[in-house]
């Protein structure tokens, strides 16, 4: 007996774009009649020779294969339209694949959406039974688990109220609770936790982790929240345009997903970036940012980052400050690098300023810089001249000896290695 829970072999799912068929029986009959007589389809669009052609087909999933072991928590990430939800739909048997084969053992409990089958007029109690039955439980099973379901959802007080009076949070809690208590071997979750509050999200994640680790259930989890993926999953696949582009370690998967392999060129032309900040003031703009002493944005751990910025002024200004917001590739903020009162400028002037940022405490990984030019307005508040969101992605490379050659547990320890603790006996204070 091998320990696979799910085996997916070369799955394809094809959708047709636009209206299906002619939309009416008449349209389809026309097309069919034209086909029989070998004439041109009267319903096809003129000059329709695009790559999608052949009836505007779209491959939502294009030859996906992977296997999931029993008791494994697999994360699935990818940008919108990558095919995540389609994949889950196929697994839940909501729709069938166009080609390929999916095999699995045991029951699948799916939560593609919270409260599937909840009927607003029925009470919480009735809906628990309803929802449980939809997910494949028998009445006897639900009877046995009913108290635990209600307790987990923290809904004792409201269980006999029609769910149409529930808040969306209450809805999710109850629905998740039902799905989580299903005795299924496989659990499939699609971003269902987004609605619950932090405490409940944590409770759910713990429950799912227990399901995987203790009960040996298999969990498939889709989310755009990298933190929950990190906390829950031990393996992760990245989908892009219907294909698996990465399969393996969670951290690496998140990096692939976040960066999707984009290398920052040594000199970044900032003029081409779209400014997302709304309240920018004219006067001085960033033109480009360039790495010094190297042709790639990569340093060794413990090194300082040297770069230069090109600035073009259109007004006379004094005491302009520069700063770089430092963030991890998944978007979480780490710190900010400040250079207050960096320069003054005259209208029409172009300045190049070489800079050195002390990032020696950053641990190996990939980081983003968001350069900002700012100053003080006449009222004594901040005003911003320029702001280029995530203009640069740079990499801090590990080197021998870092952290005593032990692995840095980024998940728990974060991205900054502060100086080591001083033993006061030795320093002699």
């Amino acid at each position: 007996m091998s320990n696979q829970a799910i085996k997916i072999e070369n799955i394809q799912k094809e959708y047709r774009l636009g209206a299906i068929g002619g939309g009416t029986l008449k349209g389809d009959l026309q097309s069919l009649w034209a086909k029989i007589r070998n004439k041109e389809d009267p319903n096809s669009k003129i000059g329709d020779t695009s790559g999608l052609s052949k009836g505007d087909r779209f491959m939502a999933l294009d030859g996906i294969s992977f296997e999931v072991k029993k008791g494994e928590a697999l994360g699935i990430i990818g940008h919108n339209g990558a095919g995540k939800s389609t994949l889950l739909k196929l697994l839940c048997r909501v729709t069938a694949p166009t080609a390929g084969k999916i095999s699995y053992d045991g029951r699948i409990a799916s939560m593609l959406e919270v409260g599937t089958g909840f009927h607003p007029e029925l009470t919480g109690r009735e809906n628990v039974y309803m929802n449980g039955a939809i997910l494949g439980m028998t009445k006897a099973e639900i009877d046995k688990k009913f108290d635990r379901i209600v307790e987990f959802a923290e809904m004792e007080k409201f269980i006999d109220t029609p769910v149409k009076r529930y808040s969306s949070g209450m809805y999710v809690k109850l629905a998740f609770s039902v799905a989580a208590h299903l005795d299924s071997e496989i659990m499939i979750m699609d971003e269902v936790l987004a609605v619950g509050d932090m405490a409940f999200q944590k409770k759910c994640l713990d429950k799912m982790r227990d399901a995987a680790k203790i009960d040996g259930r298999t969990v498939l989890y889709v989310s755009h929240n990298m933190n929950t993926i990190r906390q829950l999953c031990d393996r992760c696949i990245v989908l892009s345009k219907g294909k698996v582009i990465f399969d393996g370690n969670v951290e690496d998967a998140i990096e692939v997903y976040m960066g999707q392999g984009v290398e920052t060129p040594p000199c970044v032309d900032l003029a081409s970036f779209k400014r997302t900040q709304a309240s920018l003031v004219d006067g001085v703009k960033l033109k480009s940012i360039k790495v010094l002493d190297s042709d790639i944005w990569k340093i060794k751990v413990g090194d300082k980052l040297r770069f230069s910025i090109d600035i073009e002024a259109t007004e006379d200004l004094t005491n302009i400050g520069y700063r770089s917001r430092l963030s991890a590739v998944d978007g979480s903020s780490i710190s900010v690098l400040l250079a207050p009162n960096l320069f003054s400028c005259k209208a029409g002037e172009k300045i190049t300023i070489p800079l050195e940022a002390d990032v020696t405490q950053l641990v190996p990984g990939r980081y983003c810089l968001t350069p900002v030019l700012y100053g003080v307005n006449p009222y004594g508040g901040w005003q911003f001249y320029d702001h280029v969101e995530k203009a640069v992605t740079f990499e801090v490379e590990t080197k021998p000896g870092f952290n005593e050659n032990m692995e840095w547990e980024q998940k728990w320890w974060g991205s900054v290695k502060l100086p080591e603790i001083t033993d006061l006996r030795i320093s002699g204070e």
Binding site: M1, S2, Q4, K7, Y15, I20, G21, T24, L25, D28, E67, K89, L90, C92, R93, V94, T95, A96, P97, T98, A99, G100, K101, I102, S103, Y104, D105, G106, I108, S110, L112, E113, T116, G117, H119, E121, L122, E126, Y129, M130, A133, I134, L135, G136, M137, T138, K139, P162
Partner: protein, 291 residues
């Protein structure tokens, strides 16, 4: 690739692109029988939630229809049967028709009406129409009790109603009605996943069907439909006609059952049901993409 096992792992469930024609999963229906009953309960409870009269509405609707039929077709047009009060004549036809009509239109709408639930979770799709047909049975039962009340009144006051032993066939009559409406309903629902045109026809079609069945008139009162009449065979081939006739014969003592046509009616019912189930299981896997 892993190390090749000599024994390929056997999985319990395998999903493949297409269903075979006879891949009906009827066994699965048994596993989900609790779901069927919960759907029945849900349908019934939610129908009358927040209404003052509650399930009484189940009686009021056919009652009003019966009154209208009695006035228009019975008193003005004179199409009711001789020998029995026209009220009970129309009531008996109306409750059968109401049941059939409700089942048919609701099951025909199954995929479209429940696409939110069906699009998110798997269960045997046939659960939906089957539970619709079952939940309508509850309304039928209420109406039936109501009819029996009137019948007793008419029998006691000796107004020509003669119930006979054929009332024992009631379960069979209801069963056939249920199967026939289920069959027609799921054929339409299977076809409407792609072409909504048919859904437009359902409301209109059922109305026509009603006039093609002896609901609003007695066959004996129209010479073309009466036994020996020009279109007698034609109307008897409508599977509903023998059902309604048998029902009225059993409870009102009206007419004579024609057993050959009754048999044919059963045959048609089973064929329709069979086609329906096959079509339904053919589309159930992928209807979510087109509905």
């Amino acid at each position: 690739m892993d190390i090749q096992n000599n024994k390929e792992q056997k999985f319990q469930t395998v999903i493949e692109p297409k269903n075979g024609w006879f891949d009906l999963h009827l066994k699965e229906m048994l596993q989900y029988r609790d779901l069927v009953f919960l759907f029945v309960k849900r349908n019934f409870v939610s129908m009358y939630k927040q209404t003052v009269l509650g399930p009484l509405w189940a009686v009021i609707q056919p009652l009003l229809t019966t009154v209208v039929f009695t006035l228009v077709f019975g008193n003005i047009a004179g199409l009711a049967a001789d020998g029995v009060p026209s009220f009970i004549f129309y009531l008996s036809g109306t409750i059968l028709w109401t049941y059939f009509n409700q089942c048919l239109t609701q099951t025909a709408n199954t995929f479209v009406a429940n696409r939110n639930t069906l699009g998110k979770v798997y269960f045997p799709r046939l659960v939906m129409p089957v539970s619709t047909v079952l939940s309508n049975l509850i309304s039928l039962a209420i109406q039936f009790v109501f009819m029996i009340g009137f019948l007793i009144f008419y029998v006691v006051t000796d107004q020509g109603c003669e119930p006979n032993l054929y009332i024992l066939m009631t379960p069979l009559i209801i069963l056939q009605l249920a199967l026939l409406s289920l069959g027609c309903g799921i054929i339409i629902s299977a076809l409407t996943t792609k072409y909504r045109d048919l859904a437009m026809l359902v409301g209109f079609g059922t109305q026509l069907w009603m006039y093609a069945s002896p609901i609003a008139y007695d066959m004996g009162s129209m010479t073309v439909f009466a036994p020996g009449g020009k279109y007698h065979t034609l109307i008897m081939l409508n599977p509903l006609t023998p059902i309604v006739n048998l029902f009225r014969y059993a409870y009102l003592g009206l007419g004579e059952p024609e057993w050959i046509f009754y048999g044919i009616s059963w045959a048609i019912t089973l064929v329709i049901l069979f086609i329906g189930i096959i079509l339904f299981s053919k589309v159930e896997k992928t209807f979510m993409d087109t509905v």
